[in-house]
């Protein structure tokens, strides 16, 4: 009788083929997203290696200057639209349904379509390397007038493919966002009110709301740019009465919030992991949850700080400077909550915890330079220099990507049923942390000294810091090797994982590893308390002891 009441045992020997076809199971789609994203991560990373290889000497000697323009444009575009958004959507697919006790996403087919658009626009973007004139070369923001020039006159050109890919990426992300928001709003387990939701779900809800509000503006702006480029309209062309700054508004109205789309789920990951590895409840759960939505509100009204130098009136500069600085309040609340969580906790320095601590350190640093950049005088001084590049990479690689690695190590056992190796994981952390800081810290002095971004040659006086940065970049390149080795070998023959190897609290840890296709199926447990009850002894769901006993029995019998 007992075996019939609780989720069936983990599916045995499911075919590997399901990862290569149109599958509507969110857990399969999640892994498809993550693996695809890391494929593109390797391509984007290779481009970064070429950039840093070029910059290790002051002369422009490794690649041609025009090729260099294409390489940094594609590096940024690939890393954002083909690595970081897909990898986060992958985590959303794995975590949201299991964390809220839903059998799947609200719209499983839409979910699969959204995923399959990723390889399609990825292919379009990569194909632009092979068209006459090469890929887009106007930087990842594609400002007109550079981006509406088509010197060779081909209808199919790098910039056109770039715009098509970005528009498709927008369509895919909107499909994903509609799905995630509906799932979180409508499919939570009985008893799981909003203030019993794990913080990851709060941050995913906030981030996906930003996608829904911001992305249409970018998509609309990109369509208008494509028309200027390919059909001869003049929305952004001053000669025909258009305004190039209008594009900057459209672009940053989405692309600034996009940074929060990236960092908010990482805040969610920090909020999930610090309590597990400190054995304490999350400090200030309500404030951490609500801060996400304050960040959403403020994040939508700061976009002009990206172009203080583009002839913006002074009142607008002041307004957007103040708005930008205000964001440090809700983020500060979160940082203090995490510190309060770690404070006097029983720390376990596992690989995921190390990545979280390293990510938090880098995030605080990036936050400080962020406030500096918000200040109009400083911003005008360092605008378009390596200071901006350094700040940005601290946020994205130093904080966000490290948080994503933490999440991957933490939830790997849940979704593969295998444990990753700690030794390789710690080596990966060490190389990443040292590499990231060695790579991105020297960019700050370079920026303050006035080295512009997007150049392939520079004054010899900048050489010292550039050599350091390049060495750091190569270290980051090497750091991927233990990671890939770890993931592949652990997935194939790592030690079997129990249902809750980290002794964590959450609905996903009350499922077998890996979970069955419909998660809890019809037996969704009723949530009776807030998440993160570490050290309180309070059960999360009704009949928790019974559920756990059955999972242990199941594990003992296999």
């Amino acid at each position: 009788m007992t075996s019939a009441t609780f989720p069936s045992s983990p599916p045995e020997n499911q075919s590997w083929n399901r990862y290569f076809g149109f599958n509507t199971d969110a857990k399969v789609i999640g892994i498809q997203y993550i693996v695809t994203a890391f494929f593109f991560f390797l391509i984007g990373g290779l481009l970064a290696m070429i950039i840093r290889g070029e910059l290790i000497t002051p002369a422009s000697d490794l690649v041609d200057r025009t090729v260099y323009n294409g390489i940094y444009t594609m590096h940024g575009t690939i890393m954002l639209f083909l690595f970081i958004f897909p990898v986060l959507n992958g985590l959303n697919n794995l975590l949201i349904p299991t964390m809220i006790g839903a059998p799947d996403m609200a719209f499983p087919r839409l979910n699969a379509v959204a995923f399959w658009l990723v390889p399609i626009f990825g292919f379009l973007l990569i194909a632009s390397f092979f068209v006459p004139g090469g890929p887009a070369y106007s930087g990842w923001w594609s400002y007109p007038p550079v981006s509406i020039q088509n010197p060779l006159g081909h209808f199919i050109n790098g910039q056109g493919l770039w715009l098509t890919a970005v528009a498709l990426s927008g369509v895919s992300s909107i499909m994903g966002a509609v799905n995630f928001v509906t799932t979180i709003l409508r499919m939570r387990a009985p008893g799981m009110g909003f203030f019993r939701m794990p913080v990851y779900c709060w941050t995913a809800l906030a981030a996906q709301s930003l996608q829904l509000i911001g992305l249409p503006a970018l998509t609309g702006g990109a369509v208008m740019l494509l028309m200027d480029l390919s059909f001869g309209t003049s929305f952004y062309e001053a000669e025909g009465g258009g305004d190039p700054v209008l594009y900057q508004h459209f672009f940053w109205f989405y692309s600034h919030p996009a940074v929060y789309v990236i960092i908010l789920p990482v805040f969610g990951i920090f909020s999930e992991l610090f309590p597990v590895y400190s054995r304490k409840p999350l400090f200030g759960y309500v404030y951490v949850s609500l801060a996400s939505f304050i960040i959403v509100g403020l994040g939508l009204i700061v976009w002009v700080h990206h172009f203080f130098t583009s002839g913006v009136p002074q009142w607008m500069r002041n307004l957007f400077m103040v708005n930008t600085m205000l964001i440090s309040v809700p983020t500060g609340v979160k940082v203090f909550a995490w510190l309060g969580t770690i404070w006097r906790g029983k720390l376990r320095l596992t690989t995921p915890m190390l990545f979280c601590l390293g990510g938090l350190f880098n995030f605080v640093f990036a936050g400080i330079t962020g406030v500096m950049l918000a200040t109009v005088p400083v911003d005008i001084h360092v605008s378009n220099t390596y200071f901006v590049v350094g700040h940005f990479h601290y946020v994205i690689y130093g904080a966000a990507v490290m948080g994503i690695f933490a999440a991957i190590y933490h939830w790997f056992p849940k979704f593969t049923g295998r444990m990753p190796y700690e030794g390789l994981g710690k080596l990966h952390f060490l190389l990443t942390f040292i590499g990231a800081n060695l790579n991105f810290l020297p960019m700050h002095p370079l920026g303050l000294m006035g080295m512009p971004r997007r150049v392939s040659s520079y004054d010899p006086e900048f050489a010292f810091w550039n050599v350091l940065a390049s060495l750091g970049a190569f270290l980051l390149g090497v750091s991927i090797i233990p990671f890939l080795l770890n993931m592949l070998s652990a997935w194939v023959r790592g030690p079997k994982a129990t249902h809750n190897p980290w002794n964590a609290i959450g609905l996903e840890w009350l499922l077998p590893s890996p979970p069955p296709e419909d998660n809890f199926g019809e037996h969704v447990p009723t949530v009776i308390s807030r998440p993160y009850g570490y050290g309180t002894g309070e059960p999360l769901v009704e009949h928790q002891a019974e559920i756990e006993r059955q999972l242990c029995l199941q594990e003992a019998s296999t």
Binding site: F6, R186, P190, I213, P216, M224, V524
Partner: protein, 197 residues
């Protein structure tokens, strides 16, 4: 001890079907931002342009668009009547009003096409032509989508028992149609009423 574990009333699969309307409303909110972007872009370009109208263009004729406005606004009324008939279980009434709405939508598209064919400027005639065709074209695309969705719902109404107990597809289509209507009113004011720069 085991009988207490399961919760049959919250059967997830049964609940699964009922999220379409929620998802669609969320999508519409998102879709409205793209119009907001186009409208604010239009206003910004218009207020900052030195020569708004291209050489030889006097301005826009407003009679045809005004008729179109009346047509579209009244179609919002007929689709509401159709929905009411559906709620009362009157399938024949639903189909009648639904068809009338479709016809009004089709007439709107016809009127738009007639207006376009009589204009002496094109898509590439400066920023004036560009924004005009972009806004009316993008809105027209939504009208066409609405008519198509209505056709789909009409066909589905002939499947026996399909619409017993309400149908989210009809509600969603009707919501979409009201949305298209509101967008048109804003568009009409922006493009045809606000002609002087």
């Amino acid at each position: 001890m085991t009988a207490t574990v399961h919760q049959p009333p919250d059967h997830p699969k049964a609940e699964h079907q009922n999220h379409n309307l929620t998802g669609f409303i969320i999508f519409l909110c998102s879709e409205s931002v793209i119009f907001l972007a186009f409208f604010s872009g239009f206003a910004l370009l218009k207020t900052s342009a030195l020569n708004w109208l291209p050489a030889g263009v006097e301005g826009l004729e407003w009679r045809m668009p005004l008729i179109n406005t009346v047509v579209l606004v009244s179609s919002s009324g007929t689709i509401w009547l159709a929905e009411r008939c559906m709620a009362k279980g009157n399938l024949v009434g639903f189909r009648t009003f639904w068809l009338v709405t479709m016809a009004l939508g089709a007439y709107f598209l016809y009127g738009q096409a007639v207006e376009w064919s009589g204009l002496q400027f094109g898509f590439t005639s400066g920023v004036f032509g560009g924004t005009f065709y972009l806004l009316t074209g993008f809105h027209g695309l939504h009208v066409a989508t609405g008519v198509f969705l209505m056709g789909l719902m009409l066909v589905k109404s002939f499947i026996p028992q399909n619409y017993v107990g309400g149908e989210q597809g009809v509600q969603a289509t009707s919501l979409f149609w009201h949305f298209v209507d509101v967008i048109w009113i804003i568009l009409f004011v922006l493009i045809y009423v606000w002609q002087r720069s």
